[in-house]
């Protein structure tokens, strides 16, 4: 459960105050499938970063799974990110020198899990994303769709409650993009909350709830017409 109350995120750029988020109030229940749309600079990426605890709001309250997060220190935020939040980026952000397996394993390595447990879980997630035969390839040896699926596997390996995807299909062709969305949606069907930032109406149309932003404010928030559930 994500509860944002009157969230502001202001940046000082030169002598100008940029209101990237301006009084955003938003509740996203567990298991929802939400798309966030809006023109460039509307604050949608900032919203995603705030939800993902990468960015701290200037003002307002953010309660994640019943816990207030605005008073947590950096280490506590890192721990919450590790356990509850999975990130997927437009440019994949795989570590180029590590294999697919090692990339997926990385969050568990950082969290200090035992090697045997890591291996089992990593293989499980790779299998779920049909990447078993690509496990020992490096990112440079993978196609764009495969890379993004590795990134999804990495986001899932710690069993988060929220998946945050920032333009997950932005660097992919149509077919790979559809594959990646299908993978994300099947995870969502398993109960995980999925929040997708996108420019693409087609992508947004697949979500069950659409949020539109403009100038740091939510200007539209409604179930997708004709969406089931």
């Amino acid at each position: 459960m994500i509860e944002l109350r009157s969230i502001d995120r202001h940046f000082q750029v030169g002598d100008q105050l940029v209101r990237a988020l301006d009084g955003v109030t938003l509740t996203i229940a567990d298991g929802e499938y939400v798309s966030i749309m809006g023109p460039s600079g509307s604050g949608k990426s900032t919203l995603l970063n705030v939800i993902g605890l990468l960015d701290r709001p200037t003002a307002g309250q953010y309660v994640l799974d019943g816990r207030e997060t605005t008073d947590l220190d950096d280490d506590a935020l890192a721990d919450v990110r590790a356990r509850r939040i999975g990130f997927i980026f437009q440019s994949f952000h795989l570590v180029p020198r590590l294999t697919a397996f090692e990339n997926v394993e990385l969050p568990m390595v950082l969290a200090g899990h035992a090697p045997a447990a890591r291996r089992a879980r990593t293989e499980e997630v790779l299998a779920a994303l049909s990447l078993t035969d690509r496990a020992h390839h490096r990112p440079a040896q993978l196609s764009g769709g495969q890379r993004q699926r590795v990134a999804i596997a990495r986001a899932m390996v710690m069993r988060p409650t929220v998946l945050l995807a920032d333009e997950p299909t932005g660097n992919l062709d149509h077919v790979s993009g559809a594959e990646v969305l299908a993978a994300l949606e099947s995870l969502n069907a398993g109960g995980i909350s999925l929040i997708v930032v996108t420019h693409d109406d087609e992508v947004a149309a697949r979500s069950r709830r659409q949020i539109r932003m403009r100038d740091g404010r939510v200007v539209h928030d409604a179930p997708t017409p004709g969406a089931a559930g």
């Binding site: 970063n49 990468l54 960015d55 280490d75 990110r81 990130f87 390595v109 950082l110 200090g112």
Partner: protein, 403 residues
């Protein structure tokens, strides 16, 4: 994060950035090798000189005129006296002292030595037959000065090999005669290559009887008297006896200095230890330079891997973990560089040992430990700043910094 995973990740990124890693390894290993080799040379020189002195025998006492160990105003100056000279009579008196095996009075000067129109200015030593034994000389041809009374003035001389070959390029030196100053001497021997005389080049000197030297240089006084004690353990006692003997001959004035070979040895030891320390210090500078290089390269690595740092933060890495990751890279590099440096240093030592077998090279243990400690410490110190910088990156900005 587990320590083994930390090392694995650090090693992996070093291995992937091979050129950068190799460069830093080379820098660090040069530093460590420099410490090892330079201190080995210093230590080798010390051992060489110590060895030379020990070969002379540590049962040697050197008597020189004047007191060198007074502090403040010399008593002799107060009384309006100058120190008395050492004379042949003093030397003769020492011969009667128990516990003394041999004495060799020395007169040293420089004089033109000529033969058949060839002239050279050469150091001339006036001494006695016992000088041969005291200084453990060897003969190339002929024989050394004959034994006899100290004041027996004989016109014979012994030449160093170089002097002999320069004055007698065509004919044998032994049996010929040379002119030293304004006197003629018959050459009765040429020194061998071996033998030790610290402070003199044995190949370039002429040895004549002491009283002849006194006449040539027109002096009654001796440069010094070398005394060989019969028993090493009795040296402190013998030293006192020698002092007493001379004192009683000099109207109770203690105006000579008696140095034991041990004291000379200790002095040389101190000098060469200081030299080795200096060399170690100079070499340590190259270690510090290597450390700064590591810092630079790590800073570049951090800025190149900004996006990766952002990713690690998004994946839930704490600031300390990111610091640890980059620090581990720097430390791994410096440790590997230090080990490589040790290998290079010891290889260089082995090479030097082969090229110059007389020089007993060998790195002192403290220098090896010092080099390793400084190498690893500089990895930590200079790796810390870039690592901290990485840990402090704002994850949003870092992620956006993707190339």
């Amino acid at each position: 994060m587990r320590a083994s995973d930390l090392l694995h990740l650090a090693a992996e990124s070093l291995f992937r950035a091979r050129l950068r890693s190799v460069m830093m390894l080379i820098a660090m290993s040069i530093g460590v090798a420099a410490v090892v080799v330079l201190t080995s040379l210093g230590e080798g020189a010390r051992r060489y000189v110590t060895g030379e002195f020990q070969a002379l025998g540590t049962d040697l006492l050197i008597v020189l005129p004047g007191r060198s160990e007074t502090t403040g105003v010399q008593p002799g100056l107060f009384a309006g006296e100058t120190p008395r000279d050492l004379t042949l009579d003093d030397a003769r008196a020492l011969l009667r002292v128990p516990g003394i095996e041999r004495i060799a009075p020395l007169v040293v000067g420089s004089a033109p030595v000529s033969s058949a129109g060839l002239t050279r200015e050469v150091p001339v030593i006036g001494s006695t037959a016992d000088f041969y034994y005291v200084r453990k000389l060897s003969m190339g041809q002929g024989r050394f000065l004959p034994p006899g009374e100290l004041d027996r003035d004989m016109a014979v001389c012994v030449l160093g090999t170089k002097v002999a070959s320069e004055l007698f390029p065509q004919r044998p030196a032994v049996g010929s005669s040379v002119r030293i100053g304004d006197r003629r001497f018959r050459v009765i021997g040429v020194l061998g290559e071996s033998g030790r005389a610290v402070g003199f080049d044995l190949q370039e000197l002429v040895i004549i009887p002491v009283s002849s030297a006194q006449q040539i240089f027109n002096t009654e006084s001796l440069f010094r008297i070398l005394v060989q004690a019969s028993d090493h353990d009795a040296i402190p006692r013998t030293r006192l006896t020698v002092l007493e003997t001379i004192k009683s001959r000099h109207q109770g004035e203690e105006d000579v200095t008696v140095i034991t070979q041990d004291a000379v040895l200790a002095t040389f030891n101190r000098i060469f230890t200081a030299l080795t320390l200096t060399l170690a210090g100079i070499a340590s500078i190259s270690l510090a330079v290597a450390g700064i290089l590591i810092m630079n390269v790590m800073l570049v690595a951090v800025s190149q891997r900004t996006a990766e740092v952002g990713l690690l933060k998004a994946l839930g890495a704490r600031g300390r973990q990111i610091t640890a990751l980059f620090l581990a890279e720097a430390v791994l590099l410096s440790v590997a560089g230090a080990l490589a440096g040790l290998v290079v240093g010891y290889a260089a030592n082995a090479l030097i040992g082969r090229l110059y077998p007389v020089l007993p090279v060998g790195a002192p243990a403290w220098a090896v430990v010092l080099a390793l400690v400084i190498a690893v410490a500089s990895g930590v110190v200079f790796g810390l700043m870039p690592a901290r910088r990485a840990a402090k990156l704002d994850p949003v900005v870092a992620l956006a910094g993707r190339r």
